[in-house]
């Protein structure tokens, strides 16, 4: 079980969190014309990386904040965690 540092609450076990997918995906702005390809990339297409990955987690059983976690998908090593408005782009 992972041990995740919530930037708001500190070190907490994985059972307090729920996974939210790739954090590098950016939602296209509302009311903007977008191509089918752009939209498909946003909704469906994910890289499924092996290695360092920036992902979203929500601390559902804690502060309920969405956070960003930089994690190795193969080794599960966590390098860093960020608040929603912080961190790598």
């Amino acid at each position: 079980m992972l041990y995740i540092k919530c930037p708001h609450c500190g070190m907490r076990p994985q059972i307090e969190f729920s996974y939210g997918g790739d954090a590098s995906v950016k939602r296209p702005e509302l009311n903007k014309e977008i191509s089918d390809q752009e939209w498909d990339d946003f909704v469906y297409n994910r890289k499924s990386l092996r290695g360092k990955h920036l992902e979203l987690w929500q601390h559902i059983s804690g502060c309920r904040q969405w956070i960003k976690v930089e994690r190795d998908t193969a080794t599960h090593e966590i390098f860093n965690t960020f608040k929603a408005d912080e961190g790598v782009v």
Binding site: M1, L2, Y3, P13, S18, G20, R27, P28, L30, N31, I34, W39, F42, V43, Y44, L56, Q58, I60, R64, Q65, W66, T75, H76, I78, A84, D85
Partner: protein, 998 residues
């Protein structure tokens, strides 16, 4: 009654307490402190089971966790447990055990015919032999295999034992209480670190209990006892015996199984049987020691062949002789230590040493005791079927390829030592890439992956002096980093006999013309010839060889088999062992009972139960409950002998004709506040929200980004910047997370707060033509007329002194209201509704009637919003704004979602107006078409229409728009039903929606 193989006054057992037990129905006795294995051996019992594949007789090979075959079915306090190692099971009064893998009995075993037919059961035999003819599998092969194979029988009874889970945090977790575990624990404890020291055996001390060594002028055993006694008095130390750390998981989380009660005849009141510890450790010290390796020779699985270290442990810990005429077969000095113990206790062993002329202190001692030692000698094969009777031995050439003349010597046991294999399982599970250490012919941990350090024999260090020095130092160093204390601990003097180099010899060649089975994996019956076949058939990767031959699988996990298997592969492949590599060690290290893993989450504790504040009233009034997620909701209120169908029909009918009340507390509720609240709603719902006036509710539909409907519900504007959102019971948590996602990550500029208020409000839906009369009685001072409180209107009121929110919304399609009060007042509200409603013939109704009412109205719910449908499919496209953008809108342009013949919700009525339609049935055009019959749609929900008194269903049907009036067939192969039906509008009752506005 004397025990033939028990020595007087030797060992650590309690001779004042005799215990009686039964094995395979026969009565024996042993002593407190015995294991089942030691007690059986004391009674001269060596035959304990049959092997997995060939059903060859099996005895004891080890003395602890390393035991590959003495696996029994245990009976304790009217319960039974399979897969118990006799070498680990402590004896208790009244213990009963039976052999496994034998049928009908251990002495006469039909499966043993496999042994004589073994030509048919080589490597991969499951894959090859039982493939055809196909029809034979179910009738012949499978029943036969099931009866003849397998390790034990699981109980089918409910397990009355209790299992606990415990979460713990510590600075240092130390696995194993041998010399390295004790030293490092002691040093760390002295520095004030929070230490957990875990030992899987009942006794602490590991190898110190059996090795002839001296530490600080005491015997190793006494030194260990002193350290443990002191550790136990320290408040920062937890010392646990009977506790196996069996898994090393991510981020230094380890799991330990503590056997709390297995050594007792019966679990004490309020005690668990086992306790599973989830331990998050800052640092882990692995001091799990090493396991002796077998040497491979002919018939090396015969009962009476065992590890020399096990023979020594039986003697020194339990005072048990595994034989009176022992033959020791060794390639290193460890065999001599066992021989010396035999000799000291009046038994004359013979040593066969594969080495030519080894010299060391230990060997000198053996010689001075007059032990018969044969150098450059090996055991070619054990003789005897159910027990070793003699051994074929021979001299061996220096290159270990040529055997001399074979002689036969009498013996009653063969104690084997092929040197030592470090127990690297935990380090490997942690992710440590292990490395091969040439000097000891075994793998040791390499660079640490997590915060783990391996010490002592587990790290390939077999000198006690070096082990103590490094372990004290590591314990100090690591704890100092954590606690910043630096309390010096002096390292005691060690006296141990120096040993000489072992021989890299591991497998005795087959003599010409002999075809002895030479086993590598005793548990899975994998012999040298099986590996040879696998390699001949082209298997190369060690992981493939493992799966094809079953080498190192199951509970053995390669404890005794791994290295010899690798040696063989490397020899045939002409590679060095590290190039072959070892297979992955997987947790658990030893079998863990399912009960311990499940813990207390059984039966009704397997999930939380949520109850509404009105629950007690429902119970008192004969509610029959149903699970709605984790909520318990009344399904119907049983009157007399009514069944579900009759009761729910009565309740639904009463709503249509008079008035009913339903507990809707379980609906998800989200309080939304802030100046941008309307903007948020406008972005997450498909319809327009910017112009909703204060005091009005609106129905809304929410999509996922992929265009699929996520949830629906009403949201009410309570005041300028304050909204009350409702969600379905099932989606409440997801919708909250969804809103938080957009507010926190996508639109942080929006000034809005959302919070769940599901548990803060109790809700009652009052529905039916007479609901306004009831409402008027509840709120005599309010104008609740159609003008005063119109459809989708909202007002606040005083319900007999209690603050209430009143929403004019309807799920049943009738004139209806929903009243919310604070949860604590929920029951009060409910009783008042029942009280004032009596004159209008009010009845409570449950979820079944609720479903009936919404189905015949064509209101979609969870069974239509099933994660596969878009708004159009649910006839909700009228709520999809063309003007504004919202979550998921762009996806609705996808080709499949705009197809002309897109699926859509419809009504379904059986032509005979009698036959109920099973939910989940398929709709087809032609009932007699060949299978697979093309599916046009499926029945999503079914009810008995109380309006028309005939069955009615909703379906999601391809091209539903153009199917109204068509005749189709409903097919349910599960219920074996074919029903001719007519497709009608989903709005079966009151299609114009006049009632809700009346």
């Amino acid at each position: 009654m004397s025990q033939d193989f028990r020595l007087e006054s030797v060992g650590l057992i309690n001779r004042d307490k005799k215990l009686s037990f039964k094995f395979n129905g026969k009565k024996y006795f042993g002593y407190e402190g015995d294991t089942l294995a030691s007690a059986l051996l004391a009674n001269g019992v060596h035959l304990v089971g049959r092997s997995f594949k060939y059903h060859r007789p099996r005895g004891f090979f080890g003395a602890g966790v390393d035991e590959p075959y003495a696996i029994v079915q245990l009976y304790r306090n009217n319960e039974t447990e399979p897969n118990i190692k006799a070498t680990e099971q402590e004896l208790f009064e009244g213990l009963e055990a039976k052999s496994v893998n034998c049928w009908p009995s251990v002495n006469f075993d039909i499966g043993a015919i496999n042994n004589f037919l073994k030509i048919f059961l080589p490597a991969g035999f499951y894959y090859k032999t039982f493939m055809w003819p196909k029809s034979f599998w179910y009738r012949i092969y499978e029943p036969f295999i099931r009866k003849a194979a397998g390790l034990g029988v699981a109980s089918t009874k409910h397990d009355k034992e209790r299992y606990e889970h415990k979460y713990e945090y510590c600075d240092l977790l130390i696995a194993g209480s041998g010399p390295s575990g004790l030293s490092s624990a002691y040093a760390a404890a002295k520095n004030g670190a929070k230490v957990i020291l875990a030992e899987d055996k009942p006794r602490f001390g590991g190898s110190l209990l059996t090795d002839d060594v001296n530490i600080g002028n005491q015997s190793g055993k006494d030194w260990a006892e002193g350290i443990i006694t002191e550790l136990k008095t320290m408040p920062n130390v937890v010392v646990k015996n009977r506790s196996q750390i069996f898994g090393y998981y991510d981020h230094n989380m380890l799991v330990m199984s503590e056997k709390v009660s297995d050594h007792l005849p019966k679990t004490k009141k309020y005690h668990p049987n086992k306790r599973l510890w989830y331990i998050r450790a800052k640092e882990v010290l692995i001091s799990s020691g090493s396991i002796e390796r077998p040497i491979v020779f002919g018939n090396n699985d015969t009962p009476g062949v065992m590890l020399s270290s096990a023979a020594k442990e039986y003697l020194k810990v339990y005072g048990v002789l595994v034989g009176k005429n022992p033959l020791i077969f060794t390639n290193n000095d460890s065999g001599y230590e066992t021989a010396i113990e035999f000799q000291k206790h009046g038994v004359k062993p013979v040593i066969l040493d594969s080495r030519k002329n080894p010299e060391s202190e230990i060997i000198d001692e053996a010689k001075s005791l007059g032990i018969n030692i044969k150098n450059s000698y090996v055991v070619v094969a054990a003789q005897g079927y159910k027990k070793v009777k003699s051994a074929d031995i021979a001299s061996i050439s220096d290159d270990k390829k040529q055997l001399g003349k074979i002689e036969n010597i009498k013996c009653d046991c063969i104690c084997v030592s092929g040197f030592w294999t470090p127990s690297i399982h935990l380090a490997s599970q942690s992710g440590n890439k292990t490395k091969f250490k040439e000097e000891i012919d075994a793998f040791v941990p390499g660079v640490s992956k997590q915060q783990e350090t391996t010490l002592g024999a587990a790290n390939g260090v077999f000198s006690l002096e070096e082990t103590l020095q490094t372990s004290f130092a590591k314990g100090s160093e690591i704890s100092k980093k954590i606690t910043k204390n630096d309390n010096e601990v002096s390292i005691p003097n060690v006296v141990e006999k120096k040993s000489s180099q072992h021989d890299k010899f591991w497998c005795v060649p087959l003599p010409a013309g002999k075809h002895y089975k030479r086993f590598l994996d005793f548990q899975n019956d994998v012999a040298v010839s099986d590996i040879e076949i696998a390699l001949r058939e082209g298997y190369r990767s060690i992981e493939h060889v493992k799966r094809y031959t079953t080498l190192g699988m199951a509970t053995d996990q390669g404890k005794t088999s791994n290295l010899n298997g690798l040696q063989l592969v490397s020899e045939i492949e002409n590679k060095v062992v590290p190039a072959v590599g070892h297979t992955t060690f997987r947790p658990p290290y030893t079998p863990i009972s399912i009960g311990a893993i499940v813990g207390r989450e059984v039966g009704k504790h397997s999930k939380p139960t949520r109850k509404s504040p009105i629950h007690a009233w429902h119970e008192k009034n004969n509610a029959v409950f149903v699970d709605a997620g984790v909520w318990l909701r009344p399904r119907y209120y049983k009157r007399g002998n009514e069944n579900l169908f009759e009761g729910s029909k009565r309740e639904a009918k009463n709503v249509r004709t008079n008035v009913g009340v339903c507990d809707v507390t379980t609906l998800g509720k989200i309080d939304i506040k802030g100046p941008d609240a309307a903007e948020l709603l406008n972005r997450v719902y498909t319809n327009a929200w910017l112009k909703l006036p204060v005091g009005k509710a609106r129905y809304g539909v929410m999509l996922r980004e992929d265009g699929i409907v996520m949830d629906d519900g009403t949201t009410t504007r309570i005041s300028e910047n304050h909204y009350h959102m409702t969600t379905t019971t099932a989606q409440a948590a997801n919708v909250l997370s969804h809103l938080e996602y957009y507010l926190q990550l996508v639109w942080p500029e929006l000034n809005v707060n959302v919070v769940s208020t599901t548990e803060q409000w109790a809700g009652a839906a009052i529905a039916g033509p007479k609901s306004r009369n009831v409402l008027q009685k509840l709120f005599p001072n309010l104008d609740v007329s159609n003008e005063g409180l119109p459809f989708m209107g909202y007002m606040e009121g005083d319900l007999f002194g209690v603050k209430a929110r009143i929403f004019r919304i309807s799920f049943s399609g009738e004139l209806a209201y929903e009243v919310n009060v604070e949860s604590d007042n929920g029951n009060f509200m409910w009783e008042k509704i029942m009280e004032v409603g009596e004159e209008f013939k009010i009845q409570p109704y449950g979820t079944e009637a609720l479903s009936t009412l919404r189905i015949e109205m064509g209101h979609v719910a969870g069974s239509e919003l099933d994660g596969r449908t878009i708004p159009y499919d649910n006839a909700l496209e009228g709520l999809v704004s063309k003007k504004k953008d919202f979550i998921g809108k762009r996806s609705l342009q996808r080709v499949a979602f705009t197809a002309d013949d897109r699926q859509r919700v419809v009504g379904v009525v059986p032509l005979d107006k009698k036959t109920s339609i099973p939910e989940g049935s398929h709709l087809v055009k032609d009932a007699n078409a060949p299978l697979p019959n093309p599916k046009l749609g499926h029945i999503s929900a079914s009810c008995w229409s109380v309006e028309y008194d005939n069955p009615f269903s909703l379906a999601i049907l391809k091209d539903g728009k153009n199917m109204i009036g068509k005749k189709l067939f409903v097919m349910s192969p599960l219920k074996n039903k074919v029903i001719p039906v007519e497709i009608v509008s989903s709005h079966y009752v009151d299609p114009k929606g006049e009632r809700v506005r009346s």
